[in-house]
Amino acid sequence: MFILFESLDRDNRGCLSPDDFEALGGLAMNPIGGRIMEAFFSSGQDTVDFSSFVRILAHFRPTDRNRNKEGAQQELPSSRTRKLKFAFQLYDMDRDGKISREELLQVLRAMLGLQVTEEQLQSIAERAIQEADLDKDDAISFDEFKKSLEKTDIDTKMSVSFLK
């Protein structure tokens, strides 16, 4: 893992800066590349050191289902809840614990790009919120987010097999 870190760290400062991330062409073309980058940098800081790098990437470890069920499972960074939390944070840029319609719209706009009109975007966001919003506060909280994804197999979806 450290080798990877070093290969990304082009100016050898021992920590990563936004430019290092931007050098990855694929990430630049990724619709939510910017958000992913920001997820690496914890609030306020300008650089990512090795430990936080690893901590973020640890979210993507394949979940080990055979470990002790209750208790410890919650703390493991690769558990399903933690994975979902990470995804949730990609939406929730202002960290208020809820995905507002505007935040959802931003992500949708990034993902769907030019394929849809503003109108359709609005309706899609409307509908998505309507589906998930159980307490009718016009925003999706983390629990509602978790509930709407309960049928999806997050554990396998959000694992990169390189990380063991």
Partner: protein
């Protein structure tokens, strides 16, 4: 129900009575025999006895004999199939293939009893050239592409290595058995055993398809078994021909084995290339069929069959060629060809593959009744056992390796089903007939038949209860909710990004690359008026909307729509086209990939969903903007406008947008083309030559009539 079944059985009985009575000149493997009992039908001509006068009534059977018999066989097969589905509880317990084989056995028995000689058997040529291609074509056309490519590595692993493992294992162990039972089996050489192993080890796509489609397992499992059965054809064909040619050679050297290995690769890739070539050609041809739409489906079949025959001619893998051809041409043909042609293609494919499959199983049953059986307990039993053992161990070992590289591990339950679902079928049967004659050939034939019957009956019948017993994951039926789709998409992007960071070129990378290539070159070249593929989020959304509308029509308040001038015929036509296309899209999304019997699935409209009333406010706002854009200050406009927005549906939302793009002539919103909106844009071209005022009034009427038509549905 039972009455109908007995009726069809009676009909079939009378049919096979005809078959039994007639001399079998036209049947696949000719037997020349004099007719035995001539009751009401006899060959030769029957005439009224008017000496030296014209024959008033005559019958000439020989003239039509060949097609008549073929049709009789097909009729028998279809009636049996019909009877099967009408017979109460039987379909739940016994898979269709079993029943068909039993009917075949019955028919064969009757024919044997009447004629005292073997009934016509399935000739290898007829099988490989006529009966197998439709089934494989059908499978290839409806192959779930994304799933297939995601699991391609695993499938290839199972197909190539698994088959090799099975072949060598079975061949060598059988040789061991032959050595042990020296007395009875001593003259079976190692090469013969290997040859036998190569033909008995292969999993058969026909049998797998027919059994698996009745039990709805989760798609990943299905695609693994099915993909393996398709791709192992390359390996099987090569090994079979290899061992056969080894048998003819005086001696075998290491170089020959190496060459054999190369041949596997050549055969596989050759088949692939031939298929690709013909697939692209078919796609290109379909681009120009707009003026002769009726024959468009024909091209699909012709090109696919041509690819099969070409690759057979070059000794490549025909199955791979035809599957590749179908999978390649599908997306382009569907985009190019009218909806009716699409439906025809799908229906004909299903029909032909059904008929083929039924015929194959019936003939399997019929051909079992033979004179040329040779039985040997040790050989047959050991073959059966070895097949099972080697397949099980093979799957276990291979999965252990492959699981390390996969994201979704293949669970033990899945592995069990994969191992247990390795059914043998008619391919083995035909191959065994093709072996050059040698003393123990009859033994091989008998053993093959026993293995096939065992796998189809025992394994076929028990696999369904086992699936339920082991709680194997079943197919997910519901359409994903919009949130699910959005969030899944987000996570896909996220993982792709992380993979980028980690430097791991996962599947997403290659998939993206291919999609870019596809969009840039292939689609432009091969599709007439390429409309942009809409994102899956958009599709799910539109579909949910459509379902809602169909369920909610009664609930929504109906505002009286303003009276207007009668619609132009072009407008009616375009509206009809739009609606039929939407319906087709709607139906298409629900076609299950492997269902042999149904083309359109009836889904229950979710009537509990509340309509999205907030739409109205958005629609109103936007349409207001559009109208002001035209700079027509018509006082009367606001009135019907409000009426229109009161009836807002997604069609309204979607239909307004291309209008604005047309009249704005802005290119940014251009790509927002979904299938429903494009014909509207085309229609706008029709209308724009008219006066501008009429244009917008027409649009208004058009919208309200669209809504009205929707209600009428």
């Amino acid at each position: 129900m039972a009455a109908l079944w007995t009726l069809s059985l009676l009909l079939s009985a009378s049919l096979l009575g005809c078959l039994a009575m007639t001399s079998p000149d036209g049947s696949p493997l000719p037997h020349n025999l004099p007719p035995s009992l001539g009751t009401n039908i006899s060959d030769g001509s029957l005439s009224v006895d008017l000496p030296m006068a014209l024959r008033v009534f005559s019958m000439d059977y020989h003239h039509i004999q060949a097609p008549f018999e073929i049709v009789l066989w097909i009729m028998l097969a279809s009636l049996a199939k019909l009877g099967f589905h009408w017979s109460g509880r039987v379909p739940a317990v016994v898979p269709e293939s079993c029943v068909l084989i039993m009917v075949g056995l019955l028919v064969g028995g009757v024919i044997y009893g009447v004629r005292h000689s073997a009934p016509p058997t399935l000739s290898a040529d007829a099988f490989f050239l006529f009966l197998l291609p439709p089934i494989v074509l059908d499978a290839g056309y409806f192959l779930p592409g994304r799933l297939f490519f995601e699991n391609l590595g695993t499938i290839l692993w199972y197909a190539v290595l698994g088959t090799l493992w099975n072949v060598l294992g079975i061949g060598l162990s059988l040789y061991g058995v032959c050595l042990l039972a020296q007395s009875s089996l001593g003259d079976v050489s190692l090469l013969h055993c290997l040859l036998f192993g190569s033909l008995i080890a292969a999993v058969d796509p026909v049998a797998v398809l027919s059994v698996f489609q009745e039990m709805q397992v989760n798609e990943q499992l299905h695609i693994l078994v099915f993909g393996e059965s398709l791709l192992n054809d390359a390996v099987t064909v090569v090994l079979y021909k290899l061992f056969e040619s080894f048998l003819r050679l005086p001696s075998v050297s290491g170089l020959d084995v190496l060459l054999g290995g190369c041949r596997v690769v050549v055969v596989g890739i050759g088949g692939l290339c031939v298929g690709l070539f013909f697939g692209l050609l078919a796609a290109l041809t379909s681009r120009f069929t707009s003026r002769a739409q009726v024959i468009a489906p024909l091209f699909v079949f012709l090109y696919s069959y041509l690819s099969y025959l070409t690759s057979e001619m070059l000794h490549f893998s025909g199955i791979m060629a035809i599957v590749t051809c179908a999978a390649t041409m599908k997306q382009y043909v569907e985009a190019n060809v009218s909806e009716r042609s699409n439906t025809s293609i799908q229906y004909f494919l299903k029909m032909w593959s059904s008929v083929s499959e039924t015929l194959i199983f019936i003939f399997l049953g019929v051909s079992t009744i033979q004179d040329i059986h040779m039985w040997s307990w040790p050989f047959v039993c050991s073959t059966l056992l070895l097949c099972l053992i080697w397949r099980a161990t093979g799957v276990l070992l291979l999965t252990a390796f492959v699981n390390k590289l996969r994201r979704n591990a293949v669970t033990f339950r899945d592995q069990f089903i994969i191992a247990y679902g390795g059914l043998r079928g008619a391919i083995c049967f035909s191959l065994v007939f093709l072996i050059d004659d040698f003393p123990k050939k009859r033994l091989f034939i008998t053993t093959t038949i026993v293995v096939i019957l065992f796998t189809v009956f025992v394994q076929g019948m028990t696999i369904k209860p086992l699936v339920e017993l082991l709680y194997v994951k079943r197919k997910k039926r519901a359409l994903p909710t919009l949130s699910e789709e959005i969030h899944s998409r987000l996570i896909d992007h996220l993982v792709a990004g992380i993979e980028d960071v980690v430097g791991y070129w996962g599947q997403h990378y290659w998939k993206d690359k291919f999609e870019q290539f596809n969009k840039k070159y292939l689609r432009r070249f091969l599709i007439r008026n390429d409309r942009q593929a809409s994102s899956s989020i958009l599709r799910v959304y539109q579909e949910l909307e459509r379902r809602e509308q169909r369920g909610v029509e009664e609930e929504a308040p109906v505002d009286p729509r303003s009276q207007g001038r009668p619609l132009l015929p072009e407008e009616m036509e375009s509206i009809r086209r739009i609606l039929s296309r939407n319906l087709q899209n709607f139906n298409n999304k629900q076609t299950p990939a492997y269902s042999r019997h149904t083309l359109h699935q009836d889904t229950s409209v979710d009537r509990t969903r509340k309509p999205l009333y907030r739409h109205q406010s958005l629609g109103e706002r936007y349409s207001y903007n559009t109208i002001t854009h035209f700079q027509v200050h018509d006082g009367g406009l606001s009135e019907p406008q409000r009426v229109r927005t009161g009836l807002s549906r997604s069609h309204t939302v979607c239909s307004i947008s291309p209008r604005s793009t047309l009249l704005d002539s802005s290119d940014s919103a251009g790509p927002a083309q979904t299938r429903s909106t494009d014909p509207k844009a085309a229609r706008e071209d029709l209308v724009s030559p008219k006066h501008k005022e009429t244009v917008e009034r027409a649009a208004r009427k058009h919208l309200s009539f669209v809504l009205e038509n929707e209600k009428q549905q």
